[in-house]
């Protein structure tokens, strides 16, 4: 539909404009300083320099403290804008992250990633190795278990934000009412379960409808090491190793005999049960106090914390449950700035803000500080919960690792192990089914699993 006349003249003019434009941009590019925030690596000086320039980064996180940390960061570095986006909790966010990674665009600069999901993102080459920014020198600032969770195959894929050494949270009022002593071994725990449920058929020692995170942590505590990855793609899964069996045999005594409440964690009914005493204990990570304080205010003063029961009396053992860190995405166009924010959030002043918001730290300095250890928590009747929780960190069994496709594996936990819960049958059968389905997936995705 070009008009017949003057098209040649117009074309000539257009070509001239385009040509000039190209020449200008080439010239400008040549004169431009070495790439700023988009560099893939840098020293502390490079980061400091990048933070002085105007830039914007996007952070995907659901932990509430992150918004405050971003605000505080922006005050200190006024040229940087930090956009904090809640793209969903846990798995919901991982789905979006995976989609963005597959699509090649749309991923944030920084993302909150829980420890169990980190291998999936780290080993798939989507995250920046923080050693490129010298963050590997931070090793001593964090606990061994959290550092071990971010140090995968030689690379550092995230900075730990919080940690979750397990503990036993119990409702003292309920225990006192029925004369139940705080269990120190799992056998005592099972006995307590029976006593409680017999005394009050509405009450249960705890709730459990099958939770992948709980199960893997418990296997961890029992000394199991079901997941081993070598050469990045060679995987062995053995959910019937000694530790796995020990856990399943013990826990089946509860699930097969109706001794756990058929309530899903984090549901409306769960919060109610914690408030009115029909769920008497929680074996869960050290970050729980914040959740109890804000989510179950009615039970303030009823709860206390104790060490997690063990399999053998006097032999300490513990595991991490939940918790996570933050990572930088390879897609980021502002890696230096992202690194600066990451450091601020998880190594610098941000840690204090997280602490104040009720998070359980992963930094050794905070875990050893007197103020932290001596704090008396009114929700727990004045108990020095931090002292107890921090002391249990040393008991965490070393050597645990997750699968490079743990997120997927956890998503099919209820399809497999969940059926043992539903049938009230032996959990070992469920674990075998879980192993089989997970191995099938791994092989379909090109890994070499159990071969």
């Amino acid at each position: 539909m070009k008009s017949a006349h003057s098209s040649r003249g117009r074309f000539g003019r257009t070509a001239a404009v385009i040509g000039t434009g190209i020449a200008l941009s080439i010239g400008l590019a040549a004169c431009a300083p070495a790439a700023g925030g988009s560099a893939d690596s840098g020293t502390a000086d490079d980061i400091a320099a990048a933070l002085k320039e105007k830039s914007t980064i996007t952070v995907w996180a659901w932990a509430p403290a992150v918004e405050d940390i971003a605000a505080s960061f922006e005050k200190e570095y006024p040229n940087v804008t930090v956009k904090v986006v809640n793209a969903g909790t846990g798995n919901d966010q991982y789905i979006k992250l995976q989609n963005a990674i597959k699509a090649g665009s749309g991923a944030p600069d920084v993302a909150q990633i829980e420890y169990y999901a980190l291998p999936q993102f780290g080993l798939s080459d989507s995250l920046v190795d923080l050693a490129d920014f010298g963050f590997d020198s931070f090793e001593d600032k964090y606990t061994a278990s959290t550092w071990g969770s971010v140090n995968l195959d030689g690379g550092i894929y995230a900075l730990p934000q919080d940690s979750g050494p397990m503990a036993l949270f119990y409702n003292k009022t309920v225990f006192d009412k029925w004369g139940i002593a705080v269990p120190t071994t799992w056998d005592e725990y099972i006995a307590a379960a029976k006593t409680l449920h017999a005394a009050d058929p509405n009450a249960y020692i705890t709730n459990d409808t099958g939770d992948a995170g709980f199960t893997t942590s418990m296997i961890w505590q029992a000394g199991g090491q079901p997941y081993k990855t070598t050469d990045q793609t060679n995987v062995t899964i053995d959910l019937q190793d000694e530790g796995s069996k020990k856990f399943a045999d013990t826990w089946s005594q509860l699930t097969e005999n109706d001794l756990v409440a058929p309530v899903s964690s984090w549901s409306d009914e769960w919060y109610r049960g914690l408030a009115d005493g029909t769920i008497a204990t929680l074996a869960i990570g050290a970050w729980m106090p914040g959740n109890l304080t804000s989510g179950v205010p009615d039970a303030a003063g009823d709860w206390r914390v104790a060490k997690l029961p063990t399999y053998e009396a006097g032999v300490p053992a513990n595991a991490e449950n939940g918790g996570g860190g933050d990572a930088i995405l390879k897609q980021s166009k502002n890696k230096l700035v992202a690194a600066g924010f990451l450091q601020y959030m998880n190594e610098g002043e941000g840690t204090q803000i997280s602490l104040a918001a009720g998070g359980f730290p992963s930094t050794t300095a905070d875990l050893e500080s007197d103020a932290f250890l001596n704090a008396e928590d009114p929700y727990f009747g004045g108990q020095k919960v931090n002292e107890l929780l921090a002391s249990s960190i040393d008991d965490v069994v070393p050597g645990w690792s997750y699968l490079p496709f743990q997120v997927y594996s956890n998503s099919i936990f209820n399809d497999t192990v969940g059926q043992s819960y539903a049938d009230k049958s032996d959990l070992n059968t469920g674990l075998e089914a879980w192993q089989k389905a997970t191995a099938e997936y791994g092989n379909a995705q090109g890994f070499t699993v159990n071969k």
């Binding site: 058929p262 997927y408 099919i412 969940g418 995705q445």
Partner: protein
């Protein structure tokens, strides 16, 4: 208008020796078709393309031809989910349509007090989004603190709507609740245009209400029933929203492959197995189309 064959166009081009093609119609259907091509045809084509490849986390993308389809035909999970939605269809759809039919007949009989109120109230659930509907029913189904729990305490029963044995029925209940009003209105609208002379003639003949229903109303309803059935069949095969949202409350009863749509969704978004997911979706889509078409054919054949 019951068949899905093209109706006779109101405009017939005058016959000429040389038929000149008239493209005017495209000016009207054009905008629709352009957007349609983008949001429906292109994804379907891309879907078919995807189903012929396999993109692994380790190993990258490869052309595999019909391998995905062969895997699908041997996939126990796919058949289980297909079986489940078929069962759902065979039970829930008749119940819902019968309920809707009864309600429509009741409304049409002019023997109700406050029929306008009834009409609006029964239709109201249709306006509620699935997220909200599932939230509400999730509360009711709760055995610890929900309404069912209270009823259990009151009656001494131990009914668990979200257990393995009852969960499909519970989902069916939510779907029925959501759509019975819609189907009721579908039938009611059809009843409203039955000519009055038919009723007058029947009354003259001394026919009772049930006779009238059988001989006049039901035949008049046939087209609406066929349409309602087809939509419900398609809806049943595509079942996703309600079980997906309910899953967090009943994780052991609702698996990741509870319905074919959920299976395809989780394959893509939990497992990143986009190619296999596309394969599943195409198989289910074709099946749905075949069954819906069969129903429509039999419905219109009965009419003639």
């Amino acid at each position: 208008m019951t068949t899905v064959s093209p109706p006779a166009s109101g405009l017939v081009a005058p016959k000429r020796h040389k038929q000149k093609l008239d493209w005017t119609g495209w000016k009207f259907i054009g905008p629709f078709m352009v957007v349609f091509a983008l949001v429906l045809i292109a994804p379907v084509v891309y879907s078919i393309w995807l189903s012929l490849f396999k993109d692994q986390l380790v190993g990258g993308n490869q052309f595999v031809g019909l391998d995905n389809y062969i895997t699908a035909f041997g996939d126990a999970r796919l058949w289980e989910s297909l079986g489940r939605v078929t069962l759902f269809l065979l039970v829930q759809v008749p119940i819902m349509l019968l309920l809707a039919l009864a309600a429509a007949l009741a409304l049409d009989s002019a023997r109700l007090h406050a029929s306008a109120f009834f009409r609006i109230s029964i239709f109201l659930p249709y306006a509620v989004p699935a997220v909200v509907a599932t939230l509400m029913w999730g509360f009711i189904y709760g055995t610890q603190f929900g309404l069912v729990g209270s009823l259990n305490d009151f009656l001494g029963t131990a009914f668990a709507p979200l257990s393995n044995s009852w969960v499909l029925a519970s989902v069916g209940n939510i779907v029925t609740w959501e759509f019975v009003g819609y189907n009721m209105l579908l039938f009611y609208a059809a009843l409203r245009v039955v000519p009055v002379d038919l009723y007058e003639a029947a009354e003259l003949d001394g026919a009772g209400s049930f006779r009238i229903i059988r001989s006049i109303k039901l035949p008049a309803l046939r087209p609406a029933i066929v349409i309602g059935t087809i939509f419900s069949i398609i809806g049943s095969f595509q079942l996703f929203n309600e079980p997906n949202i309910l899953q967090s409350l009943a994780p052991n009863s609702i698996s990741t492959y509870f319905t074919p749509n959920m299976y395809a969704y989780n394959l893509s978004f939990s497992g990143q197995q986009y190619n296999y997911s596309a394969t599943i979706a195409i198989i289910v889509g074709v099946l749905t189309a075949v069954i819906a078409y069969a129903v429509q054919l039999s419905g219109s054949r009965k009419e003639s």
